[in-house]
């Protein structure tokens, strides 16, 4: 029977088709497609969404899919202590995690395509086929990344995603800012991907395979190797656990770059130079999610190493706090959202690092919807404000743009973590997991998790504050400019995505209400069940990517060695909710008036530091110019003098020899004949002596 899995490759190929179409039109230079190529893109992403939903339903029926589709390079035989020959393949892995992610990505992509009709087409932008080609390729590569069944394929699509990000950020390439931001995004993420690439090679060298799931997948091999049941290659003289930590941290380099974690977060705020729908799609809902999704995808590998888990959790928590403080003082609406994105991905990392596989994935799910919503809402505001993004020029938009206001408010409540909006449930679960595992675990990992929990908790306060500062400045009070006074709401193609996402941002948290479950005992933690499967049976057993497996590894002595303290989740949730409300309330008090003052200016030098992002850009530029540039110059001198010198020396010998020897060929026949004669004579004498003829 032909099932959903037979059509699964089409999920990736449909947006790719729309990309090809848009590129063809862009190259033809004529306006062949109505709406500049938006309609094929919408059709393709709608098709992907339908197929994803079908896959989702099939997966919820308990079926999974983990097959290699195409082997593009195969080794002859196994080498070293590897048990199987090296194979480089493309394949699909469709399990609950990827099915869920497929649904998120294709839904957000579809809504962003629709929104682009309002943001790009109606605003009379040029170069639309190029824009829709970028969106199509981006969607295709992100979906390909999600369904990848091995690390190498994931890496390839990871890079494609980065390329699309570059193309789309630099869409308005005739202005000064976007190309520079695009280059920055490309280079910074590339720096992280460099480590990722080494990590991929290390995984291949260690295990001989990079498959994520099933028999002989590398997380399983790693688990068996630590228990002494399998042999793998380790390097640098390290024991398996230590070496796996190194490999995990190398791959984490790519994650940190792509998910904009400290210290490689600097590209994301600049990436706001791109069109706002792109910001929504790439820099909020999906591409940035690629990094953390990768951690979730190979969670069984990270769970083996307490050090790697601690690093993930600490990096995440620090980023969450660090970015939240910078978001406090920004003037532009998209900048606030950019820093909130960095901060929220910090939470996801914190959740994953703290052993909350479900919690991290849950926050990934809710954040994708409410952050896409917030960006699209900001896009709607920006359309109304004629592309002025400064919040101090807005104010009072509430009455003129009700749909945008209420959906944006829903997103903001979700972002701030106010009950019962989506962000509350997921963020609360992340913090809960960090706290109980931090208290329960006795090793250094426990301490690290407690520190991370503390930072995450403070960040909740700041999140509430900057979110509502943004809402107040934008929508409340009196209009501060003529543009704001005359703002009107854009058309249906803007409102429709906002409404869909607004509903989702309000309700999607209900899929996993752990505190309510603990209070009432009702079995309503659906996402939990979804990602856990049935213990010891079905896909949870064959694929080894279920929550049971991860839980087992996390709590095992050979794994991260975690333990959970016994705390009621609603009490922990109450604490973070109180902090969020306090932050939001103080923002309301400070900025809720008719004509708010710029209170952040009173912070003085602190504000300058925050506004300049802790001078992160400056120190990275200094690193590039003060350290890397002299090194490169030295390398250049070495290259010019030594390498080129040797090459030129060799060639000059040949040249000189040739210029002398060529004089033998003087054009006189007699000389040639004489040389032939002498040569023959010499040959004969040689043979005679050698062969003993005389």
């Amino acid at each position: 029977m032909v099932g959903a899995f037979d059509y699964a490759p089409a999920i990736v190929l449909l947006p790719f088709l729309s990309f090809c179409l848009a590129v063809g039109v862009a190259l033809s230079g004529r306006d062949l497609l109505p709406k500049g190529g938006a309609l094929p893109g919408i059709a393709a992403t709608a098709g992907s969404l339908l197929l994803s939903a079908w896959v989702f339903l099939t997966v919820s029926g308990g079926e999974t899919y983990n097959e290699t589709i195409y082997t593009w390079a195969a080794g002859g035989e196994a080498t070293g202590s590897l048990s199987q020959p090296l194979e480089l393949t493309f394949g699909l892995l469709l399990d609950p995690l990827s099915a869920m992610m497929l649904l998120i990505v294709s839904l957000v992509a579809l809504l962003v395509h629709v929104f682009s009709l309002g943001y790009m087409n109606d605003e009379g932008e040029t170069g639309l086929p190029r824009y829709y080609a970028g969106l199509g390729l981006f969607t295709a590569s992100m979906l390909g990344f999600v369904v990848a069944d091995n690390l190498l394929m994931a890496f390839m699509f990871f890079e494609l995603v980065g390329l699309c990000s570059y193309l789309l950020i630099g869409f308005w390439f005739r202005q000064a800012g976007p190309p520079s931001a695009a280059k920055k995004a490309f280079l910074v993420t590339r720096f992280g991907d460099y480590f990722f690439l080494i990590g991929v090679v290390a995984v291949f060298a260690t295990f001989g395979t990079a498959k994520f799931a099933g028999e002989g997948s590398f997380p399983r091999l790693a688990e068996a190797a630590i228990q002494g049941e399998a042999t793998v290659n380790t390097f640098l003289g390290l024991a398996p656990t230590a070496w796996f930590t190194v490999v995990g941290l190398l791959v984490l380099g790519g994650v940190i770059g792509k998910s904009a974690q400290f210290p490689l977060h600097t590209w994301l705020p600049d990436a706001m130079e791109g069109p706002t729908p792109v910001s929504a799609l790439i820099h909020a809902a999906t591409m940035v999610a690629a990094g953390v999704y990768l951690v979730a995808r190979m969670y069984g590998f990270y769970a083996l190493s307490p050090t790697a888990m601690a690093v993930v959790a600490l990096v995440g928590a620090f980023t969450a706090l660090f970015a939240a403080t910078m978001g406090l003082v920004k003037k532009e609406i998209k900048q606030v959202l950019a820093y909130s994105t960095i901060s929220q991905y910090g939470y996801i990392m914190l959740g994953l690092g703290a052993g909350g596989y479900v919690a991290g994935t849950f926050h990934l799910l809710t954040h994708a919807f409410f952050k896409a919503l917030l960006f699209l809402g900001a896009g709607s505001v920006i359309i109304a404000m004629h592309h002025n993004e400064d919040m101090w020029d807005m104010g009072g938009l509430k009455d003129r743009m009700p749909v945008t206001y209420y959906t944006f408010l829903a997103g903001s409540l979700a972002l701030a973590g106010i009950v019962p909006f989506a962000g509350f449930w997921s963020k609360d679960e992340v913090l809960y997991e960090a706290l109980v595992h931090g208290l329960g675990t006795t090793s250094g990992l426990g301490t690290a998790l407690l520190v991370a929990y503390g930072m995450g908790l403070i960040a909740v306060l700041f999140t509430g504050f900057y979110t509502f500062r943004m809402v107040m400045l934008t929508f409340h009070g009196e209009p501060r400019t003529d543009t704001a006074r005359e703002a009107t709401e854009p058309g249906w193609n803007v409102k429709l995505p906002l409404v869909v996402l607004g509903i989702l941002a309000t309700t999607v948290g209900f899929v996993n209400m752990v505190p309510v479950k603990d209070l009432t005992g009702a079995e309503i933690d659906f996402l939990h069940k979804w990602l856990y499967g049935t213990e010891g049976a079905g896909w949870a057993e064959t694929l080894g990517t279920s929550g049971y497996q991860y839980h087992h590894v996390l709590f095992a002595d050979y794994g991260a060695g975690m333990a959970a303290a016994n705390l009621p989740s609603y009490l922990v949730g109450l604490l973070s909710l109180a902090l969020a409300l306090f932050g939001a309330g103080s923002a309301y008090v400070l900025y809720g008036g008719a004509d708010p003052d710029p209170y952040t200016d009173k912070l003085g030098v602190v504000k300058d530091v925050l506004y300049n992002n802790y001078y992160q850009d400056e120190y990275q530029v200094w690193l590039a110019e003060g350290v890397v540039l002299p090194l490169s110059k030295a390398a250049d001198v070495f290259d010019q003098a030594v390498v080129d010198g040797v090459v030129n020396g060799v060639s000059s010998v040949s040249l000189f020899g040739g210029s002398r020897i060529k004089r033998i060929q003087d054009g006189i026949v007699t000389h040639y004949a004489a040389m032939l004669t002498l040569g023959l004579t010499a040959l004969l004498v040689g043979f005679a002596i050698y062969g003993g003829w005389f």
Binding site: Q665, D666, G667, I668, V669, T670, A673, A674, T677
Partner: protein, 100 residues
């Protein structure tokens, strides 16, 4: 019967005389004559070894060599004519354009 060594020395002598002419003379016509001498030295070898092994193949080969020599002379004379036409001389050291 004459030992084959004598034929060989004779042939070597004829060959060397032809070669000597080739190397010392500068007249293209003398070149042709010298080449004929060298070819005939080869013929002597063929015939000598035909007798040595009691096999007629060598003699047949010498007939072919004569045929080829005729063809060679025909072409050679043609080349000398062109040489003369281009350089107004039959001195082989005059054309020197094919060189470094």
């Amino acid at each position: 019967m004459v030992p084959v060594e004598y034929y060989l020395v004779l042939s070597a002598a004829v060959f060397s005389i032809g070669l000597y002419g080739l190397l010392t003379r500068e007249n293209a016509l003398l070149f042709l004559m010298s080449v004929e001498l060298m070819l005939n030295a080869a013929n002597i070898n063929f015939v000598a070894f035909s007798l040595q092994w009691g096999n007629l193949t060598g003699q047949v080969m010498s007939l072919f060599v004569m045929g080829l020599a005729a063809a060679e002379v025909a072409v050679g004379i043609g080349i000398i004519l062109v040489l003369y036409r281009n350089f107004k001389d039959v001195d082989v050291t005059v054309p020197q354009s094919m060189r470094w």
